[in-house]
């Protein structure tokens, strides 16, 4: 294939001195990732041992996923997500972007090692994120259902609410009305909420021992007209439980032979997964060559080198273009308006042969800028008027050309003060939010280092519920409204003045300030960001490109709108910048 766009090489090799200087930083990032991986492992080992699951003739959800997914094609999200501090330290589901039988999907399964895959605190939000992804990426949603219903002792954290556990079923219905199929492989006992997890998808593929039911035997047997339990009630309960243990409602006998809800029933666990693979083969998908503008190519520089570029030290600058060059095909790009808004990078790149827009913060000093003041100079990471206008323009043009966007944040916020207000930065930030929402483009964001203040929102942040498919963090991620020291100064500076004027000791106030700094630090680390869901996953630098490739393939699998490559304006706009000022070719003779 002849590449449709002639792109320009960029990026530079690492220097010896740089490698040496960054050794400690790289060691720190590896340590941070070890902590994340250890937490992932702890969650996998929590609950019933895998051996016990095997003895029951079942597989764990991770084993099911491994069998189901094309080798190496599962990109996990929400691995350690635990927004409600559930005792397992998880949300009880395992999910991510996956490729099955060559087709991309959003995959989610219940962790059957923990209370038989019950609904637990935090899971509803996880499910919302997953259904959001399927909707934004227009990908099939594949469920591995194995859900014992609500964790009853904590039902108040799980069952009700506008965005509670039941919302998932409305989301399934919404996806179906949008033409997004929901496939389910069903295992184990699935009463009540589990029953709806089983019935709400589009295609139901059942294991022979599974059931789905409005309520389980326990619910029917547990009804007590007295309002309390006594010995007589207990005897009735024992009798009812024995009965329902023998004949659980909603077995395959009912829902295959009688209602026909189950499409197929399978003897073996893996046969259910084989059937899912077969259904996935038939999912609507363009051949990638329909949209590719060039052959897929690896970057000229290894993504694993990014650790030697992005320092853990949040105050240290680096060359962002060198990061992008390690993530995109052939380390080539077409930069949009390079001389304008120098604090921001905007450009077109190829990811696995697919056209993609990249936006990110540049770092370092920018003398003689911004143009609206001589009072101070600019520093990368902060946003100024031109950068905000440039991002608005770029997003709008990407929208016109239907080019998905990947954002990279390392931002300390938007310029502040009356000078900045006069330069309309507040309005331009919100304009960018408007541009993103209006674009209706699938987007992902990498919080490369700092995600701070409103800049975290306006630069493709996860708040864009209709466009942000998912957000990744890295070992250098740090997310907070402002730096802890800034927050402590803002909160306590007047108090310090008061104490000083009253000739009181400053130590108690200073202690509080330092406590606040520590609190901000603790609550902004990569581990915290992943646990709280401020990002959907922490990914080491060397894996970033894999997620970008998965994203690119996902968004181009079955897009809802198309711009023919020869109708695109953005590459032409970029090229016109290049030729501006050139003379017309002279006629010979």
């Amino acid at each position: 294939m002849i590449p449709y766009l002639k792109m320009k090489e960029f990026g530079k090799p690492l220097k010896e001195a740089q490698i040496k200087r960054m050794q400690e930083s790289v060691a720190q990032t590896n340590e941070i990732m070890k902590g994340i991986e250890a937490e992932d492992q702890r969650i996998r080992n929590f609950g019933v041992p895998a051996d016990t699951i095997h003895k029951r003739g079942q597989q764990t959800v991770w084993e099911r996923i491994e069998y189901l997914v094309d080798p190496g094609m599962f990109f996990p999200l929400h691995t350690i997500y635990d927004p409600d501090h559930e005792e397992s330290g998880s949300t009880g589901v395992v999910d991510g972007i996956a490729r099955i039988s060559g087709k991309w999907c959003v995959l989610i399964g219940f962790n059957n090692k923990w209370i038989a895959g019950a609904w637990i605190a935090g899971q509803a939000d996880n499910n919302l994120r997953v259904t959001d992804m399927a909707k934004i990426l227009n990908l099939p949603l594949v469920w591995l259902v194995n859900c014992s219903g609500v964790k009853l002792p904590e039902q108040e954290k799980v069952y009700a609410n506008r965005r509670g556990q039941g919302t998932c079923f409305f989301r399934h219905a919404e996806l179906e009305t949008l033409g997004v199929p929901v496939l389910a492989g069903i295992y184990g006992t699935n009463p009540a909420g589990g029953g709806y997890q089983g019935i709400s998808p589009t295609i139901l593929l059942a294991h022979k021992d599974c059931n789905i039911a409005v309520g389980g035997g326990g619910i029917v047997g547990g009804m007590s007209p007295k309002g309390f339990f006594d010995e007589e009630g207990a005897e009735q309960l024992i009798e009812a439980t024995r009965h329902f243990k023998e004949t659980p409602p909603g077995s395959v006998n009912i829902h295959y032979n009688e209602t026909g809800f189950f499409r197929y029933v399978f003897e073996e666990e893996n046969q259910v997964l084989d059937a899912l693979k077969e259904y996935m083969e038939g999912m609507p998908a363009y051949n990638p060559k329909f949209f590719r503008l060039s052959e897929p190519a690896e970057p000229k520089y290894a993504p694993s080198e990014i650790g030697y570029i992005v320092p853990v030290n949040q105050k240290a600058g680096y060359d962002f273009d060198n990061v992008v060059a390690r993530l995109v095909d052939n380390s080539e790009h077409l930069e949009f308006r390079p001389g304008y808004g120098p604090e921001v990078y905007t450009g077109l790149v190829m990811i696995d042969g697919f056209l993609m827009g990249i936006i990110g913060n540049r770092q370092g000093l920018i003398p003689n800028y911004p143009e609206y003041t001589n009072e101070y100079n600019a520093v990368g990471g902060k946003l100024y008027r031109q950068g905000l206008i440039k991002m608005n323009e770029f997003v709008t043009q990407c929208s016109r050309d239907r080019v998905p966007i990947i954002w990279f944040q390392d931002t300390s916020g938007i310029d502040v003060g009356d000078i900045a207000e006069k330069a309309e930065l507040l309005g331009l930030g919100q304009s960018l939010i408007y541009s993103i929402e209006e674009s209706n483009l699938p987007q992902m964001v990498v919080i490369l280092r700092k995600g701070t203040a409103a800049a975290h929102y306006v630069m493709g942040g996860p708040q864009g519920n209709n466009t942000n498919a998912f957000s990744l963090g890295t070992p250098t991620t740090e997310i907070y409204v402002m730096h802890g020291e800034t927050a402590a100064a803002a909160s306590y500076s007047r108090r310090l003045v008061k104490e000083k004027d009253a000739s009181k000791p400053l130590d108690p106030v200073l202690d509080k300030m330092n406590e606040m700094v520590q609190h901000y630090y603790d609550k902004s680390r990569p581990m915290y960001c992943a646990k709280a869901g401020l990002v959907d996953e922490i990914v080491h630098f060397e894996k970033l490109r894999d997620y970008m490739v998965a994203f690119a393939n996902s968004v181009y699998q079955n897009p809802r709108s198309i711009c023919p490559r020869h109708h695109m304006m953005l590459p032409r706009l970029i090229q016109s910048q290049v030729v501006t000022g050139l003379e017309r070719p002279k006629k010979e003779g």
Binding site: Q18, K315, G317, P367, G380, S412
Partner: protein, 70 residues
Amino acid sequence: MEEVLAPMPGNILEVIVKVGDAVKEDDELVILEAMKMENPICSPVDGTVKEIKVKAKDVVEADQLLVVIE
């Protein structure tokens, strides 16, 4: 002869090179702390460090001479 100047006022955090060092274009010479950030000041050319006009903890003004590359 190439003179490397401070792009804006700040504090010298670290001088990375020493006189006589061979440097390449884009090699880091000095770390300048300005605008709460630690900013590497890089060599604009290949050459040898002829003079170093600052040391760690120095406060510098914009356009102050930092390093001379020959």
